[in-house]
């Protein structure tokens, strides 16, 4: 046991001390930070930019609609009526949106002046409200940023709610009530129901599952390749022979797989912890970057709630799946003599892995389908597909355990097979073995 520990410690420390490990581990969180905060940051900035936009409202309705619209554009949350109360002064919409009230006859002349203004970059655009706006909600916007979906939506909302408010008031609804009615915002939250009745965001679950599956895939590739290179190094530098005179090849193999696995858990532990940290602190961080006013801006999705059983299963899928592929990678490393040969010989293993990843997309779109069911039970694809499936949709515990069991049994088989190839291959130099020779190695040892 002391020797196994010595091998594990060497594998672990040598890799963790490596400067590339430090770089990748540090840049991982930076990457997560960018991925999580940047979209939120951009959307917040986008909102603010849209507000600041220097646009002109041209009101040719003669009903004061322009003022209402302007107010709603400037501050979509506040009432559409002239502000009142003690804070009236401070909450008055910033004078960003000027309203030009014109008669229907002089509209064309006013518009041509505004076009010149826009062309001279003194204005980014103008919104025209006329009788058609009151009649059937037709308004017209012209400007430099005419194709901006965000702004267009904002304008539509402002015009719709202003027109609606006017109509309600005309129909006898008290102004204040009319205002609150038009400001009603609807948001359909998709909530997932699980066996235990706990809920979480449905879309969040699928995205989270996708992230998990992708991370498992990356981890297996990254650390599997690390093992392959490690075995190859021991073989080409002939250290293997010195080591094998002290410990059994099985111990060396086990130490390698465990040591590198521990490196993986460390790295992903750091990543997950920092991702959670950034996620939890995102509001404050964004606030610090773009100013407190934006701090409550909406960002992406909520993390789904995850049951302890799922977490345990996810960790086990990682450990078993990693072990399964790591021992295959180790066997490949022991089979070949150079990195070039390794690149070729590793193809079959990579193909099995990529095969699973190809189906991540279809399973994400339909996590309850037959494809997801089958792939999450095949031991080679289960470590990637089942975590995706079970975070996206509830899967009976029995099926999860059956899938885990399948992966475990296959992993043990892979260890058995690889240990035998490893034992013989480590001391074989020269040409790559054929399949028949490989089989002899397996039987021989």
């Amino acid at each position: 046991m002391g020797k196994l520990f010595a091998v594990i410690r060497r594998e672990y420390l040598e890799r963790v001390r490596n400067k590339w490990f430090v770089i990748v581990t540090v840049f991982g969180p930076v990457f997560f930070a960018v991925v999580m905060i940047l979209p939120a940051y951009l959307s917040v900035r986008g909102l603010r930019d849209a507000k600041v936009v220097d646009l002109r409202v041209v009101d040719a309705t003669g009903t004061g609609l322009g003022a209402r619209v302007a107010q709603r554009i400037a501050d979509p949350r506040r009432g559409g009526n002239p502000p009142s109360g003690p804070d009236a002064e401070t909450t008055t919409p910033r004078q960003l949106v000027r309203v030009d009230t014109v008669s229907a006859a002089s509209l064309a002349a006013a518009e041509s002046t505004l076009v010149l203004e826009v062309m001279a970059n003194r204005l980014s655009g103008y919104l025209i409200l006329d009788s058609a706006t009151l009649g059937n909600g037709q308004a017209r916007y012209a400007g430099r940023n005419a194709s901006s979906v965000g702004q267009n939506e904002q304008l539509e909302t402002a015009v719709r709610s202003a027109v609606m408010g006017m109509r309600l008031e005309n129909a006898g609804v008290v102004a204040a009530n009319a205002d609150s009615i038009t400001r009603l915002r609807v948001n359909v939250a998709a909530v997932r129901i699980t066996d235990s009745g706990k809920s979480g965001s449905g879309v969040g679950g699928i995205i989270f599952g996708g992230v998990i599956a992708f991370m498992l895939y990356i981890a297996i590739i990254l650390y599997g390749q690390a093992i392959l290179r490690g075995v190859l190094e021991e073989k080409t530098t002939r250290v293997a022979e010195v080591i094998l005179a002290s410990v059994k090849p099985d111990i060396l193999l086990a130490g390698k797989v465990i040591g590198v696995g521990a490196v993986g858990l460390t790295q992903f532990g750091i990543w997950i912890a920092s991702a959670l940290f950034f996620w939890g602190e995102r509001t404050r961080l964004i606030g610090a970057i773009v100013g407190p006013s934006a701090a409550t801006a909406p960002t992406g999705f909520d993390f789904p709630s995850i049951e302890p059983f799922t977490i345990v299963a996810l960790v086990l899928f990682f450990i078993f799946g990693y072990t399964l592929y790591a021992s295959l990678f180790a066997a490949v490393g022991a089979m070949v003599g150079t990195q070039e040969e390794a690149n070729q010989a590793v193809q079959p293993v990579m193909m099995i892995l990529v095969f699973s990843v190809i189906f991540v997309q279809p399973v994400m779109t339909n996590p309850t389908g037959r494809l997801a069911e089958v792939l999450s039970l095949i031991p080679f694809s289960a470590p990637i597909i089942m975590p995706l499936r079970m975070t996206a949709t509830p899967v009976p515990a029995l099926i999860v355990m059956a899938s885990l069991g399948g992966v475990l049994v296959t992993a043990l088989g892979a260890i058995w097979l690889s240990a035998r190839i490893y034992r013989v291959g480590l001391l074989m130099y020269g040409k790559r073995p054929t399949l028949r020779e490989l089989w002899r190695w397996v039987r021989q040892s």
Binding site: K3, E14, T237, R238, A240, E241, V242, A245, L427
Partner: protein, 321 residues
């Protein structure tokens, strides 16, 4: 406690296309310096790997220091220097040595103490430069060999196995190696090494075993091997060139097996059972003037050539003996 450090009985190892070792018996006494001699491809490395249980023999048994070599505990008392040297290139020298020591069951504290001793002893650590901190790949080849050698001996093994230890060594390191082997013997350790350099073997070894084509050709103490193979070689030096009469005697196949004719000097190998006195009398009878007539002890090199011959080296089997 058995007297044998290594007791090999009837081991064979067959690979797909050839037999590497065939029915080999070997007895290495404790405290001996033992040479395993043979041409390339003779089965030396295979034998050594079987001793170390890196590969298992198809048949036969191997006992080390009185215990079967499948007993993992026995491996901790062995030190092994493989023919192909290798260390983790990216690791610091101290870390590599500590790792190798730990694999032999040495605790870290003892290992660290001994590492410092050895680094100083082999001048890898001095006031101005401490190579222990350097990565292995930053060391010169000679220094790497020193490090590997330290790794072999760090746990103070009872049985030291060196595979072609002299290959690739510069004269200074070769001398250091010889000194160490002698010192190990003084301290009662057993050393077995393989080589195809007979001079080193002749000077260092108490006993030798010559193997060729996977089979033992001869073994025993160097003295007995020489004695058994002596008596049949005669050094003959004449005053002046050989006369036809002398040549006739030397070419008598009932008396002389082989003669190395160097004009005035002859190395004569008698046929088995022939008497050197008969040869002396016959040469004298020709009237030749004899400057020197001596029954010589053949060198290991000669014995090797004589017993293994050029045929002992099979083409295409070079590499791992």
């Amino acid at each position: 406690m058995t007297e044998l450090a290594i007791d090999i009985r009837g081991i064979s190892k067959r690979y797909a296309d050839h037999v590497a070792v065939r029915d080999l018996n070997l007895a290495v006494p404790r405290g001996a310096v033992y040479g395993l001699l043979g041409p390339n491809g003779a089965g030396k490395t295979t034998t050594i790997r079987m001793i170390l249980n890196i590969i298992g023999p198809d048949t036969g048994s191997i006992h080390l220091l009185g215990r079967p070599n499948t007993d993992r505990a026995i491996l901790d008392r062995l030190g092994y220097l493989p023919e192909e040297r290798g260390l983790y290139k990216k690791m610091a020298v101290r870390d590599v040595l500590r790792f190798l020591a730990e694999l032999k069951g040495l605790d870290r504290r003892t290992a660290d103490l001994r590492i410092e001793e050895w680094l100083e002893r082999l001048s890898l650590r001095s006031a101005e430069k401490d190579w222990g901190k350097a990565k292995v790949e930053e060391l010169s080849r000679g220094m790497q060999q020193k490090v590997q050698f330290i790794g072999t001996l760090l746990h103070d093994p009872d049985l030291v196995i060196l595979d072609e230890p002299f290959s690739g060594l510069d004269p200074i390191n070769a001398q250091a190696l010889k000194d160490t082997v002698v010192e190990l013997k003084r301290r009662g350790r057993t050393v077995i090494f393989s080589t195809h350099l007979m001079d080193n073997a002749e000077r260092l070894c108490d006993s030798v075993c010559i193997i060729a084509r996977g089979e033992k050709v001869l073994d025993g103490t160097v003295a007995s091997v020489k004695a058994e193979n002596a008596g049949r070689t005669v050094a003959l030096a004449l005053d002046g060139s050989a006369t036809p009469e002398v040549m006739a005697v030397l070419q008598d196949r009932t008396l002389v097996e082989r003669v190395d004719d160097q004009n005035r000097f002859f190395e004569v190998e008698l046929v088995a059972g022939a008497d050197s006195q008969t040869l002396l009398r016959r040469v004298l009878e020709t009237g030749a003037c004899i400057q020197r007539f001596e029954r010589v002890q053949p060198s290991l090199h000669q014995i090797f050539l004589q017993r293994v011959g050029a045929t002992g080296v099979e083409e295409g089997m070079s590499g791992h003996g």
